[in-house]
Symmetry: C2
Subunit: 197 residues, 2 copies
Amino acid sequence: MRVSDKHSKITQAAVKVFAKKGFFNARISDIAKEAKVADGTIYLYFNNKYDILISLFEDEIGKIILQVKLLLEKEDDPCKKLHIFAKHHLLLLEGKKDLAEVLQMELRQSNKFMKEYRNTKFIEYIDIISTIIHQGQDMGIFNRDISPGIAKRAIFGALDEMSRLWVLDDDPHYTIEQTANQVCSLFLSGLKKPSIH
Amino acid sequence: MRVSDKHSKITQAAVKVFAKKGFFNARISDIAKEAKVADGTIYLYFNNKYDILISLFEDEIGKIILQVKLLLEKEDDPCKKLHIFAKHHLLLLEGKKDLAEVLQMELRQSNKFMKEYRNTKFIEYIDIISTIIHQGQDMGIFNRDISPGIAKRAIFGALDEMSRLWVLDDDPHYTIEQTANQVCSLFLSGLKKPSIH
DNA sequence: AGCCAAAATGAATAACTATTCATATTAGCT
DNA sequence: AGCTAATATGAATAGTTATTCATTTTGGCT
């Protein structure tokens, strides 16, 4: 059995267990059982419990960044780019609900108990948004009054909150497609009706 | 000493300790020490550790809801109402950084470990936003294509994420005033420049 | 088959801490 | 001052669980 097989078996198990119980309530033995390895085996691949969470995050968000950047390459229109980003972010939930839940709920508060860990991958992820906004401004399509640094956070926050709806709600009222459309048109055109000249 | 004095002394201490260490890493003895009471005393006022968190939340968000509803009463214009809501939400951080951090980081994941607890106060809070949007739509100012149910989440998410910037960042790049303005104009007018007819 | 290093095991260790409860203190009352 | 109920204390309990490590198993090699 390749080394990476066991590493990823444990990671996958951890995603499941963390999603179900939360990081603090998850026991190493739960993860071990789910991965079908001995408790001690986990410590051959990870330094400690936190390390599982961090390592899991770096791996998975890394994959997501690659995916979404590839999709964005093919498109020029910043509006459409924003659409692609939003839909891709929300679609995570469809195939990988557990992963989405862990990335969202558990990692969010990781800064609290792992002060030294600077989450550079996350920054790389949301910087995709500000890059799109800069582009739109340079092309004269987007309003220059909007700060990309603030807007990236606002847009990410909005998408993230929409995800939470699915993660926590058992009976979602909207489809992912609908939500992506709504959020994008909210951010692109705003609430206000265009004023009539 | 009035009963409520000790109750609120413990609550205030819990806010501090939860903000600093996070719910799971906070020890009852930490809270007791901060509140200058014995460990056992806490159990005269709260059923258990979770109960401290829930009770704290219900009390504090209740106060916030009252405050912001009072402010909104005096205003008719939905755009200005949104401004008021946004600024009020972000201003929480100035005076009560610890509280903001606990409400945001700790309570967020409470659903995970307290399945039975339905967070009705939180729903009441974000429904303030959808009420404003409905009003704007009825008045013909806001676009009817936007679903208030989605927009309320998106707007709350955006504000919440902006809060997180302050909570986690030691050196904020923008003032609260600037941020509230940016977020509101983003949501009201959108990224796109008005098209020229 | 026999050898050996790498990988895996899981019982034991070594804290850690929420909660309890027997005891002590306080405060209101006569 | 003396009494009593309410309030407060904090040491002891009881249970939890991350991590270690002596031992076993595996798999590649000759």
